[in-house]
């Protein structure tokens, strides 16, 4: 039987989105498939099975929610580099928990924001992932030679981003941009052609 009050990194028993009759999820997140995100509608149903013969169990802790979302990324058919990203997230979660078992590991709302981003930009290249010091938010970076794009996934659905790239007209200078956006407006601000090659894979 799963111990809901203790942290367990093993996610093999988690069966997200597996709906069984006559069961009610404890909490719900519903992912929007359209090209824009309405965070007010964000719900996910997560169910849990402890063995093949017993009923589903409810997930109640934030740790469970984080691990379920990581599992969801791992299982995704549309997210590029989904296995690698899930492995990186799990490693960060374990690092944070090792040092402080009572910490959130990864902030679930930040991870949910990152998941929305991954679903919108399915041609994303494999980012380097780290955690912010205060709230354990996801911080993703893409570097290529002189270029950098980093995104801090805040818990309110915003993304604070930093873009550094060479200034082709002034080779000794760099273009440096920072700002706040949501996933669905990010490429309106930082035009996609500025991010191709090192953030987005043009072949996909």
């Amino acid at each position: 039987m799963y111990e809901a009050t203790s942290w367990q990194p093993d996610i093999k028993n988690l069966l997200p989105f597996e709906h069984e009759p006559n069961t009610k999820p404890f909490w719900e997140i519903e992912f929007d498939n359209t090209s824009t995100i309405d965070h007010s509608k964000t719900k996910l149903s997560i169910y849990f099975r402890d063995n093949a013969f017993t009923q589903t169990e409810l997930l109640s802790t934030q740790d469970d929610q984080v691990q379920a979302l990581i599992h969801q990324i791992r299982k995704s058919k549309i997210i590029s580099n989904h296995e690698s990203i899930a492995n990186k997230l799990l490693a960060l979660f374990n690092f944070a928990k090792e040092e402080n078992p009572t910490s959130p590991g990864i902030a679930v709302d930040s991870l949910s924001n990152f998941y929305d981003f991954l679903q919108l930009y399915t041609n994303i290249k494999n980012p380097t992932l780290s955690l912010s010091p205060d709230y354990n938010n996801i911080y993703a970076s893409w570097r290529s030679k002189e270029k950098l794009f980093s995104a801090h996934f805040l818990q309110n659905g915003d993304i604070r981003f930093v873009l550094f790239k060479p200034n082709n007209r002034h080779p000794k200078r760099k273009i440096r941009i920072t700002g706040t956006a949501t996933s669905d407006t990010l490429t309106e601000i930082t035009t996609p052609e500025n991010l191709n090659d090192w953030v987005f894979d043009e072949r996909r």
């Binding site: 090792e98 040092e99 955690l131 912010s132 010091p133 911080y139 801090h152 604070r160 760099k174």
Partner: protein
């Protein structure tokens, strides 16, 4: 002495936790403040009066082992004071003038210092500091 400015020619070490240095690569999150922090904690290398960088790193690792929980994946970022001050002043939108001040801990780490005039969760300045990382070493004392 507490509050002394560390010369631009000197160097500092920053402790980077494993989730701030995935696969050994130090990220901007290592240079962001927590809520309530006034400065970014660092160690002043020249204060240690070691004969070379290898011995300075060894001493920093020893200090960490006495004051922090140091995972095998934790890292040390070495930064030059003048370089980080210059890149932040010239490249930040508000021409931020950061200061690196000696901040010894009474009865404890005497090389402890702080990078002041940062703001919480300032991704832009943290990324500028990443550009100025000179060296990256393991933080664990073996």
């Amino acid at each position: 002495m507490k509050g002394d400015k560390i010369p631009d020619s000197d160097n500092i070490a920053r402790f980077c936790r494993p989730w701030q240095a995935p696969e050994g690569e130090i990220q901007a999150t290592a240079f962001m403040l927590r809520t309530g922090e006034e400065s970014l904690s660092v160690n002043w290398l020249e204060f240690l009066k070691c004969s070379n960088r290898k011995n300075e790193i060894r001493e920093i690792q020893r200090i960490y082992s006495e004051t922090l929980s140091v995972s095998v994946n934790a890292r040390i970022a070495i930064l030059n004071v003048g370089e980080i001050r210059n890149i932040v002043r010239t490249e930040s939108p508000d021409n931020r003038n950061i200061e690196v001040l000696h901040d010894p801990i009474p009865g404890g780490d005497q090389s402890h210092s702080g990078v002041y005039n940062l703001k919480q969760d300032n991704e832009f300045i943290a990324e500028l500091i990443v550009e100025a990382i000179r060296e990256n070493h393991p933080a664990r004392y073996e």
